[in-house]
C-alpha cells in the first residue's frame, strides 16, 4: 500500500517526534522523478522519542512487513528500543523506521545532513541531496548507481538555477 505521506508527517509532527525523511520520498522532495512505494524516516532513538513514536503510530496498527501473519510482534517502546531498523506496514501504508542510515550514522548525523522543507502547512526535515548521495553510495546496490547520477545532476541543476 502506498503511504499517505502528508497524513503521516502530520501525525509525527503533532506528536513532536524527532525524525528526518530519507529515501525515495526525500529524493522526490528534491525533484527526483523516481517512484517509490514507502515512506522512510530516520528517528531519534532517545527513550522519550521512542515512546512518543510508539504512542503516535499505535492507532495505525504497525506490523512487520512481509512477516508471517502468525509471527508475534508488538510495536511498543520496548520492541523499538531493542531493535534498530523496522520495515512496517500500517493502515496508512508502508513505513520504514531507521535508527541508523548507512553512510551517515544515527539520528544526529542524519539531522545535521538535513534541510527544512515545507509541504504546504507541514514543515519537516528532509535529508539533503549531499546526505542522500552519501547514503546511496554506502548502500552500494546496483540500483543506487542511477540514483547517484540523478542526485549529482539534480544538485548541479539546482545550484546553477539558484544563481539566476
Amino acid at each position: 500500500m502506498i503511504p499517505a505521506s502528508e497524513k503521516f508527517l502530520t501525525i509525527l509532527n503533532r506528536a513532536e517526534i524527532e525524525y528526518v525523511v530519507i529515501g525515495g520520498v526525500a529524493m522526490v522532495a528534491h525533484g527526483s522523478a523516481k517512484a517509490t512505494f514507502d515512506l522512510d524516516v530516520c528517528y531519534n532513538r532517545s527513550k522519550q522519542n521512542i515512546e512518543k513514536l510508539c504512542r503516535a503510530l499505535a492507532p495505525l496498527h504497525p506490523r512487520l512487513r512481509g512477516a508471517p501473519k502468525n509471527l508475534p510482534f508488538r510495536f511498543d517502546a520496548k520492541t523499538v528500543a531493542a531493535g534498530l531498523n523496522f520495515t512496517l506496514a500500517t493502515d496508512l501504508g508502508d513505513f520504514d523506521l531507521l535508527g541508523e542510515v548507512a553512510g551517515l550514522g544515527f539520528y544526529d548525523a542524519v539531522y545535521n545532513s538535513s534541510v527544512l522543507k515545507r509541504v504546504e502547512k507541514i514543515s519537516c526535515r528532509v535529508l539533503s541531496l549531499d546526505g542522500l548521495y552519501r547514503a546511496k553510495k554506502a548502500a552500494g546496490r546496483d540500483k543506487d548507481l542511477e540514483a547517484l547520477k540523478e542526485i549529482k545532476g539534480l544538485k548541479e541543476l539546482t545550484e546553477r538555477l539558484s544563481e539566476e
Binding site: S5, A29, A33, K152, G153, L154, E156, L157, L161, E164
Partner: protein, 68 residues
C-alpha cells in the same frame, strides 16, 4: 521557478556543459526533462505527483496477480 530560470534549465539539459554532472546524468540516460518539470513544482505538488504515479503502478501490480 522564474521564466529566466526555466529557460536556463532547458538550456542546461539540452546542451549540458561538458564534464558536468548534468552531462554525466544525461549520458547515463536520466530523463532530465522530468527533473526540470519537478523542480518547477512545489514540494507538495511533487509528492502528490509521486503518489498519483505510485497509486497507478500499485493498481497495475495488483492487476498482474495470479489468475488475472
Amino acid at each position: 521557478m522564474t521564466p529566466k530560470q526555466r529557460k536556463l534549465a532547458y538550456e542546461l539539459i539540452t546542451n549540458p556543459p561538458p564534464g558536468s554532472a548534468i552531462a554525466a546524468a544525461k549520458e547515463y540516460g536520466i530523463d532530465l526533462t522530468l527533473l526540470v518539470e519537478n523542480l518547477d513544482l512545489t514540494v507538495a505538488q511533487r509528492l502528490r505527483k509521486l503518489y498519483s504515479v505510485a497509486s497507478f503502478l500499485e493498481k497495475l501490480r495488483q492487476s498482474n496477480g495470479p489468475g488475472r
